[in-house]
């Protein structure tokens, strides 16, 4: 600030000698409420072509002005246009305040122009629209891997679950346009049911610090936000067409947005994706095609004082599962493990046959807000979600050809309300309530015993968070949350199992009646979860320090409680445990970021201690008509995870830039003193970028991705008796040893051509695994059966209008 003032004074003195129409207006545009600078506002002098854009500090310079009164017009994507009269007397300094709460319409997380974080002291990173578009032909999980410390748990290349600092599934909350996704996320083969193309920004909070969204995000929170619409007369859209050589198909995504000055707006977006069998370097990955459809629409009314927004989205996905990964027994699995090629390789086809999954997700939400002058803002939201998951196995019998083996329908109603107090620039408070009712219906028409039983679930949560600025450089943040979860299930247990597990002694009150060899039980389970967070931030001249502690508690999910059946591709029987209690995590994260000249550096270490960590563990063999199967049971232990994420970038010149990312995590089961399973290996990403703005915004990136070998893993190898020529022989089954390190190279390039003043076409070529490297990924469940994807060249056309 001192520096700035002295510049002002210097300019004022200079003005004494200035001539007419050679004056300078030095300005600063800040937010009316909290005084933060607004980047990217366009400032124009009415009646002239003198114009400027504000920089990161909200500052701008207009030159060539005459003394006298001028009219300045300031436009910012998130604000109402501001027109202001300024008297120029020599070189002049003027501060402008804009009503910036327009941006918050829809709990905006991120805009291209201003980064507003969900948490002030936790590790949080985001992906912007350009990056999301590069992944248009892929999935949410693929795009999120751009963030250091985020990896993915795959089943093939189309079922991609995000993993945040080593944790995934129920430990990661996914928010889709303000709605917490309820899409049976407990399953390791259940990818998030949302269309990546419907999001224009993605934010990842690496931990549970954003208590507003839930207290159980032991891994973290992913926030996908759709396009925001400014209050002005506007109509724009874009169409993105991506074609891919691997899979021989493509993706078409299109959106149209209309805003009115009156505050009304609407939006329509749709995506269609169709790909056939993917290819590994040496062979076709048979039955891995995908057919995805997405549609989202919204309409609403926004004003400063109140507004509402109705949103609906539909997502449907049909995904083929690698044919060779469907096996009948452990001997089949051993045969697959011993072969370097998948045991079923067919000619390329677009057909998707069993085994496959088909999911459909409807999401409808309506929200409204009211701003109370001088106090803050009240939000109210109701959402409805309907998720149907069908899984088709290879079955016997004419009636079963098109009959799913699994048919689960999860219906969720949620009511959210919260109040934000933001009247004081140094203090912000947020308190709210969330109530949820959910019902799961496993359709008995499958003719296969239910993997997950019928259940009703009630959740109620209250939270309060706040942050307080102490002086210019310090900020403190704190929050508490309480959640009640009640699960009321109805399940048929095998009578023998019920007794062997000792449930007849422990839970006699759940027993409803005996039907043949089965017993119907009605478990009613309640969990009381407490979560909290606290953190501080120090902002220096070119560096920022963050320190945060988050306490998170997660109630067990239905699969951990009730799982009961054969998991086909794992050739294992998975059994839940009724007596599992909530998992409690204590996570400490720190972050140091520095901007020094052309260098940007961010170092973020963390430590996560999890009491009652729920994991699956081998526990003996069970004899069946298909031979013996390994039984895996859910168990609780204490565990810790420690890791670090590093991001760095350096701008060598206006044209050249390099970006570097590194992530490492180690997890240990403290009861058994062994490493945790499925922890991502250390990985390093290096990217060199070349850009030539003046030549059609040319941009070229070369990316090297190095994934090290995971050397820390639990040894769950087991001896298994198999028949060889009719004689029983013991064979070691190794599903534990991770694959070797691998290095992948990718290059992408894009140029843009203006078609008219308001429309442009962008052409991009994206090449991945260019060297056609043969590799297998430790966190891909199909690594036992086939190599990962070979070379893929995508051509992308984007039309903006």
């Amino acid at each position: 600030m001192k520096k700035y003032l002295s510049v002002c004074f210097a300019l004022l003195f200079a003005a004494l000698n200035a001539q007419d129409c050679n004056q300078i207006l030095l300005g600063e545009v800040i937010d009316f409420h909290d005084g933060t600078p607004l980047f990217g506002a366009t400032v124009t002098v009415a009646g002239t072509d003198i114009t400027a854009v504000t920089d990161f500090n909200g500052k701008f310079t207009l030159e060539g002005l005459c003394n006298g009164t001028i009219e300045v017009r300031i436009e910012h994507p998130d604000c109402v246009i501001l027109t202001s009269k300024v008297t120029i007397e020599g070189n002049t300094y003027q501060k402008f305040t804009m009503e910036h709460h327009m941006e918050e319409l829809g709990e905006v997380v991120v805009t291209e122009s201003r980064i507003q974080k969900n948490t002030k002291t936790a590790q949080e990173q985001l992906i912007k629209r350009e990056t999301i578009e590069r992944y248009s032909g892929q999935s949410l999980g693929d795009a999120l891997k751009e963030i250091s410390g985020v990896s993915s748990l795959n089943t093939g290349s189309t079922i991609v679950k995000p993993v945040i600092q080593g944790l995934h599934s129920s430990r990661v909350i996914i928010m889709n346009s303000g709605v917490r996704m309820q899409d049976q996320e407990w399953g390791s083969e259940h990818a998030p049911n949302l269309d990546l193309n419907s999001a224009t920004s993605l934010s990842v909070i690496k931990g549970a610090a954003a208590l507003k969204y839930g207290g159980d995000a032991i891994g973290g929170i992913i926030i996908a936000e759709p396009q925001k619409i400014a209050i002005k007369d506007t109509l724009f859209g874009s169409t993105l067409l991506t074609g891919a050589t691997n899979g021989r198909g493509g993706t078409l995504s299109s959106s149209l947005v209309k805003g009115y000055k009156s505050g009304w707006n609407w939006k329509l977006q749709g995506t269609l994706k169709r790909l056939g069998d993917f290819e590994a370097p040496d062979y076709t990955l048979s039955n891995t095609g995908v057919f995805e459809k997405g549609l989202s629409s919204s309409f609403g009314y926004n004003s400063l004082k109140y507004g509402f927004d109705a949103y609906y989205s539909y997502y449907e996905n049909e995904i083929g599962i690698l044919r060779a990964s469907h096996i009948g027994n452990v001997a089949d699995l051993i045969r697959a493990l011993n072969s370097d090629r998948p045991l079923v390789i067919r000619d390329f086809t677009y057909d998707i046959l069993a085994p496959k999954q088909k999911v459909a997700h409807h999401l409808a939400r309506i929200k409204a807000y009211k701003r109370v002058a001088g106090v803050g803002k009240w939000n109210l939201q109701y959402d409805f979600q309907h998720n149907n998951r069908l899984e088709f196995d290879i079955r016997r019998g004419e009636d079963n050809k098109n009959r799913p083996s699994l048919d689960l329908t999860l219906t969720t109603h949620t009511l959210n309300t919260d109040f934000v107090y933001d009247a004081r620039p140094d203090l912000r408070l947020n308190a709210g309530f969330r109530g949820m009712y959910q019902t799961n219906f496993p359709d008995p028409a499958t003719g296969v015993k239910r993997l997950i039983p019928d259940y009703d679930r009630f959740d109620a949560g209250v939270f309060m968070t706040g942050d307080y600025r102490i002086g210019d450089q310090w900020l403190a943040e704190a929050g508490v949350r309480y959640d009640l979860t009640r699960i009321d299930a109805q399940k048929f247990y095998d009578l023998d199992t019920w007794q062997e597990e000792g449930y007849d002694q422990k839970y006699p009150e759940f027993e409803e009646g005996i039907f043949g060899t089965e017993i119907l039980v009605n478990p009613v389970l309640e969990y009381h979860n407490f979560s909290a967070t606290g953190g501080i931030r120090f902002t220096g001249d070119a560096n920022e320090w963050l320190l945060n502690y988050a306490l998170a508690s997660r109630a067990p999910n239905p699969s951990e409680l009730f799982s009961d059946g054969l998991h086909h591709s794992a050739a294992a029987i998975e059994i839940g445990a009724l007596d599992i209690t909530s998992e409690v995590s204590h996570k400490v994260t720190a972050s140091f970021s520095k901007t020094a000249g052309n260098l940007n550096l961010n170092i973020a270490p963390y430590f996560n201690l999890i009491n009652g960590f729920i994991l699956l563990e081998p526990s003996g063999l069970e004899e069946t008509i298909r031979g013996a199967f390994p039984v895996w049971k859910y168990r609780q232990t204490d565990a810790y995870m420690i890791g670090i994420d590093i991001d760095a970038s350096y701008q060598y010149s206006t044209r050249w830039r390099s970006t570097h990312k590194f992530a490492y995590v180690y997890g240990e089961d403290l009861d058994r003193n062994v490493a945790l399973i499925d922890i991502p290996a250390a990985n390093l990403m290096n990217r060199i970028s070349f850009s030539m703005q003046e030549f059609h915004e040319l941009q070229i990136n070369a990316t090297s991705q190095l994934v090290f070998e995971q050397t820390n893993y639990p040894d769950n190898r087991f001896e298994y008796p198999t028949f060889e020529n009719g004689v029983l022989v013991n064979t070691t089954v190794d599903l534990s040893t991770p694959p070797p390190a691998c290095h992948l190279l990718g290059v992408d390039a894009s140029v843009k051509f203006d078609l008219s003043e308001t429309s442009a076409i962008q052409v991009a070529v994206i090449g991945s695994n260019l060297l056609n490297t043969r590799y297998r990924d430790y966190l891909n469940r199909q690594r036992f059966f086939a190599d990962d994807l070979g070379r893929n060249i995508q051509l992308q056309l984007k039309l903006n209008y």
């Binding site: 109210l380 109603h413 009712y437 015993k449 048929f492 039907f515 008509i625 298909r626």
Partner: protein, 180 residues
Amino acid sequence: MKNLINTAIALTLVLGMTSCSDDDTPEQINEEEFINEVSLMITETGTANTMTYTWTEGGTAPEPIVIDAEKTYEVEVSFLDSTNPNDIEDITEEVIAEADEHHVFFETSVSGLTIAASDNDFEDSMGNKLGVITNWTATGTTNGNVVVYLIHEPVTKTGTTRDDFGGETDVQVPFTVTVN
């Protein structure tokens, strides 16, 4: 704004009501494709001497199969679902109906025992024998295991070991055999 509040109240009421109406008892499922029993009906050719040996999931191992050397036996395999003793289902019929997608294979460690498809065995649309009815002949005095496999969607229908066939194993059950 009032409308919004009214809507919210209405929604809360709807929520409250739907959450009280779900007390239905789920329907019990009987797995239809389930096989829990494999039986071998062994008939000495030219005679009416028939013995049946049955492997039941969770039951005691069947008695050893005893056959005489230098004689021919016709062996018919059955796959059954006997979880409901009043309604035993014969899954073999389905296997025969879908002969193209199935193959029954016997793997033996009994030296001198030869197992070959019988002339009256069922065939798939390509003329491949299904393996449901087989002829067993043996030489010498010996014993060992015979493992019965029901293979779903085999890669090929010719082979001498289980590995040759690929596909998924629906049944893998051992019987002990003594040749006198």
